[in-house]
C-alpha cells in the first residue's frame, strides 16, 4: 500500500513538472480550451479555438465560424490519426492537450477578426485578414503576422476564410425561414402560452409538407387570406425570443397539434366553413383541426 502511494506521488510530481515545463515554454498553452468535451454540432469559444488550432496545423481548411460542423469533424479525425490518438472525432482531454502542444492560438486576434466580420485565415500562425464583407470602402488590412513557428505546420493556403460566428439551423431550412416563421408566430399568437406558439409554427410546417398547400414556408405564410396576421400587417412586428424558440422547437420536430393543418380562434372566426373541419384539440385560445 505504502509503496503504491509513493508511486502515485511520484507520478503526480512528474505530471506537475511536465505542466510546469509546458507553462514555461508556451504561454499559449496555459489557457488552452475549457475542460469540456467538444463534439459534432457544438458551438462557441471552444470550437473557435479548435478550428483555429486545426487550421494552424493545416488540417482544417474551412471557415473559422465557431460551429463544429462536418469539415471540422474530419479535420479533427485526421489530426487524431496523424498524432496516433484514438480516432473518435471528439475533442476530449488528451486530444486537446496534444492539439494545444502542437499549435499556437492567438485568442485575442482571432476573436477580433470574428467581431469585426473580416475574412481571415490562420494557417501556421500566418494570419491573413481581408476586407470585411460590408462595402464601406475600407482598405484591406493584412494582420500583423506574429512569429509563428510551428513544426510540421501546413503551408499557408491563402484562401480567406469567413466571418462572423455561424449558427446551427435544422436541416432543410435557413435562418431566414426561421426569422420569417418567428414573425408569423409572433403576429399570430403572441398572447398565447408557449405551447400554443409551438403549435402555430407546427401548423405552418404541416402545411408546407401537405399536398394541398404551397410547398415553401413563404408560400404558406403569404398565401392570401391564410393568416390574419399577414392580412393586417402584424407579421411585420419584431418577434421576441420566445417566438423564435417556439419556431426552433417546431422545426426540430415537436408537433403539439397532432398534425393539424388549420386552426382558428372560436371567438373571432368569421368563416362558417372552418367550423366544419374535424377538430383535434384546443390549445390556448385556438382550436386546431385537420
Amino acid at each position: 500500500m505504502k509503496r503504491n502511494s509513493a508511486y502515485i506521488k511520484g507520478a503526480f510530481f512528474a505530471i506537475a513538472l511536465c505542466f510546469g515545463l509546458l507553462a514555461g515554454f508556451g504561454q499559449n498553452n496555459a489557457h488552452a480550451f475549457s475542460n469540456q468535451v467538444v463534439q459534432v454540432g457544438a458551438t462557441g469559444e471552444d470550437v473557435v479555438e479548435l478550428q483555429s488550432r486545426l487550421q494552424y496545423l493545416g488540417f482544417y481548411t474551412g471557415n473559422i465560424d465557431g460551429v463544429f460542423g462536418w469539415r471540422t469533424y474530419w479535420a479533427l479525425r485526421n489530426f487524431q490519426y496523424e498524432f496516433g490518438l484514438p480516432i473518435d472525432g471528439l475533442a476530449g482531454g488528451t486530444t486537446k492537450n496534444k492539439l494545444a502542444k502542437a499549435s499556437k492560438y492567438d485568442k485575442a486576434w482571432v476573436n477580433r477578426q470574428i467581431d469585426t466580420g473580416k475574412k481571415f485565415s490562420y494557417y501556421g500562425g500566418e494570419k491573413k485578414s481581408a476586407k470585411s464583407g460590408a462595402a464601406k470602402g475600407g482598405t484591406a488590412k493584412s494582420g500583423t503576422p506574429k512569429a509563428g513557428t510551428a513544426k510540421g505546420a501546413g503551408k499557408p493556403k491563402a484562401k480567406p476564410a469567413q466571418v462572423k460566428p455561424a449558427k446551427n439551423i435544422p436541416n432543410g431550412y435557413s435562418q431566414n425561414d426561421v426569422n420569417l416563421m418567428a414573425n408569423a408566430v409572433y403576429g399570430e399568437a403572441r398572447g398565447e402560452p408557449y405551447i400554443g406558439q409551438v403549435a402555430v409554427a407546427a401548423v405552418i410546417i404541416n402545411r408546407v409538407n401537405s399536398a394541398s398547400f404551397p410547398n415553401t414556408v413563404s408560400g404558406v405564410i403569404f398565401e392570401p387570406g391564410a393568416f390574419t396576421a399577414v392580412a393586417d400587417g402584424q407579421i411585420y412586428l419584431t418577434p421576441n425570443a420566445q417566438a423564435k424558440k417556439a419556431v426552433m422547437d417546431a422545426l426540430n420536430g415537436w408537433d403539439p397539434t397532432g398534425e393539424a393543418e388549420y386552426y382558428f380562434n372560436p371567438d373571432t372566426a368569421t368563416s362558417g366553413w372552418i367550423w366544419t373541419r374535424p377538430q383535434i384539440k384546443k390549445i390556448g385560445k385556438h382550436i386546431f383541426c385537420n
Binding site: G41, N171, P214, P224, G225, I280
Partner: protein
C-alpha cells in the same frame, strides 16, 4: 376685414383638406388596383396552365415512343406545379379548394414517377393508361369550369378584391360567380377521388393514414394518465396537473397534460396516447440561462433519459447546439442496424442539463417489434455502386424509407466528396442507390437580428 380674412383662411383650409383627401383616395386606389392586378394575373395564369396541362395530358395518351412520352410527362409535372403555385397566390384560403390542390400534387407525382422511369424497359401499363385517361377527363372538367368562370369574370368585370372581401366577412353574396366557379371545380375533382394513381403515389397516402392502433396495452383513463405523468417526471404532490382529451376527430387519440410546478415555476406539456399511455411528446417551458455544460455532457443526460424511459436500444444520429439548447435525434438500433424511421428527439438545457423536451410520435408510428433484415449483397458489392470520387469514411447498416415511402434495408456510407459530407444509402438487396443526403454545414450569420 377680419371676416374676409377668416373666409379666405377657411376656404384655403377646406380646399387643402379636400386636396389631401383626394390624393389619399387616389393612393389607396392605386394600391388596391395593384393587389387586384396580382390576383388577376394569378387567375389568368392558372387558366393558362390548366389549358396547357389538359392538352399535354391528352397528347401523352396518344404517344407511343419513349423519347416523346418522357418529355411530355415531365411537362405535365412542371405544369401541375405551376398551376399549384398559381392557386397559392389567390385568396382562396377560406374556400374549400384543397381537393383540387391535392389532385394537382398527385397528378404531378404520378407524371414525375412515369417520366423518370425507363419506359423502354418498363412501358406504361394498361392501368396507367387508364389513369391518364381519367386524369384527362378530370382536367377537361376543371378546364371547362375555370374557363367559364374566367369568361364571366371578364364579361362582368368581376374583381378578386370583392371575392376576398366576401370570403373575409363571410357575407357571401348569392351570386359571386368566382366563388361558385371554384366551388364547382372542387366538387368535380371530388368525383374523381378514386382515381388509381398506382402504388408509388398511394404510398404517400398511406403515410398520412398511419395511426396508433398497433400500440400495445389497453386504454387508459384520465386518472391513469396523471399517474403516468407523475411517475415519468418523478413529481411531488404539489404539482398542478390538468388533463384534457383530444377531440373525436383527432388522428392520434391522446390526453394532453399540462403540469405546473410551483417550485421551479416551469410548465411542462405532455401528450400521452390513450392506448397504452405512451408519451407522444414532452415540452418543458422555462427560461434557460447561459450554457454551462458542454453538448457532450448534455448528450449523456439524453442517453440516460432514454435508457430510463425506453425499452429499445437507441443510437444518437445527430447532435446540434442552438445557443443554450442541445437537440439530439436517436434512431433505434436493431441488431446493429439503424432503423431511421423510428427516431426520437431529445432536447436538453445546457445551463443545468435538464431534459427540456422529448418527441416520440415518429417512433410510435413506425415501430415494429421484429423486422427481418434482408442483406443479400455484401458491403463490398454495395461499395462498387458508389460514385468513384466519393471517399468512404464510415460504413454501417441501416433501414430507411426511400422516396416512395417503402422501407428498405441499406448499407449506409458516410464520406466526403470535395468539401462536403454525404450519407449515401445503397440498397442491400439490389444495390440501387436509394438516397444521397448532403449533410448541412452551419450557416454563416448574415445578420444578427
Amino acid at each position: 376685414m377680419i371676416r374676409t380674412i377668416l373666409i379666405v383662411l377657411l376656404f384655403v383650409a377646406v380646399a387643402g383638406t379636400g386636396y389631401w383627401g383626394y390624393s389619399e383616395h387616389q393612393e389607396k386606389n392605386a394600391v388596391l388596383l395593384q393587389a387586384e392586378n396580382n390576383y388577376q394575373r394569378a387567375f389568368h395564369d392558372l387558366n393558362f396552365h390548366m389549358d396547357s396541362l389538359h392538352d399535354k395530358i391528352g397528347e401523352t395518351i396518344a404517344m407511343n415512343t419513349r423519347n416523346q412520352l418522357s418529355p411530355a410527362l415531365a411537362q405535365v409535372w412542371r405544369l401541375t406545379s405551376e398551376a399549384h403555385n398559381d392557386v397559392g397566390q389567390l385568396p382562396l384560403a377560406l374556400l374549400p379548394f384543397n381537393k383540387t390542390e391535392e389532385f394537382l400534387t398527385k397528378m404531378g407525382e404520378f407524371s414525375y414517377r412515369a417520366a423518370v422511369r425507363d419506359l423502354d424497359k418498363n412501358p406504361l401499363s394498361d392501368k396507367e393508361y387508364n389513369t391518364l385517361k381519367e386524369l384527362y377527363a378530370n382536367s377537361t372538367e376543371i378546364q371547362n369550369e375555370l374557363r367559364k368562370t374566367e369568361s364571366l369574370a371578364q364579361k362582368n368585370n368581376l374583381r378578386w378584391m370583392d371575392v376576398e372581401m366576401a370570403l373575409a366577412t363571410n357575407k357571401q353574396p348569392e351570386d359571386n360567380t368566382i366563388i361558385d366557379g371554384f366551388k364547382t371545380v372542387d366538387k368535380s375533382v371530388e368525383g374523381y377521388s378514386d382515381v388509381d394513381f398506382g402504388t408509388e403515389v398511394s404510398n404517400m397516402e398511406k403515410m398520412k393514414d398511419r395511426d396508433l392502433s398497433q400500440l400495445k396495452g389497453k386504454k387508459i383513463t384520465k386518472e391513469e394518465a396523471k399517474k403516468i405523468a407523475i411517475d415519468f417526471f418523478q413529481l411531488k404532490k404539489n404539482v398542478k396537473i390538468t388533463v384534457e382529451s383530444t377531440g373525436k376527430d383527432a388522428k392520434y387519440d391522446a390526453y394532453s397534460l399540462t403540469l405546473y410546478n410551483p417550485d421551479t415555476k416551469g410548465t411542462t406539456y405532455m401528450d400521452l396516447t390513450k392506448k397504452g399511455g405512451y408519451p407522444l411528446y414532452v415540452l418543458y417551458d422555462r427560461n434557460v440561462g447561459k450554457a454551462k455544460i458542454s453538448l457532450n455532457e448534455a448528450m449523456l443526460q439524453a442517453d440516460d433519459f432514454l435508457k430510463k424511459h425506453m425499452e429499445s436500444q437507441m443510437e444518437m444520429v445527430t447532435s446540434d447546439q442552438y445557443d443554450n439548447i442541445g437537440v439530439f435525434t436517436y434512431a433505434r438500433l436493431d441488431d446493429g442496424v439503424r432503423i431511421y424511421p423510428e427516431t426520437v428527439s431529445v432536447k436538453v438545457a445546457l445551463d443545468n442539463g435538464d431534459i427540456m423536451g422529448y418527441e416520440g410520435t415518429d417512433f410510435l408510428l413506425a415501430h415494429v417489434d421484429d423486422r427481418t433484415p434482408t442483406f443479400k449483397i455484401s458491403e463490398q458489392e454495395a461499395r462498387t455502386n458508389l460514385n468513384p470520387k466519393f471517399q468512404v469514411k464510415e460504413t454501417s447498416k441501416a433501414l430507411i424509407r426511400n422516396d416512395i415511402n417503402e422501407e428498405v434495408y441499406c448499407y449506409e456510407f458516410l464520406g466526403i466528396l470535395g468539401n462536403d459530407t454525404f450519407r449515401v444509402f445503397i440498397n442491400a438487396e439490389n444495390g440501387n442507390e436509394e438516397e444521397v443526403r448532403k449533410l448541412k454545414e452551419a450557416e454563416p450569420s448574415y445578420n444578427d437580428i
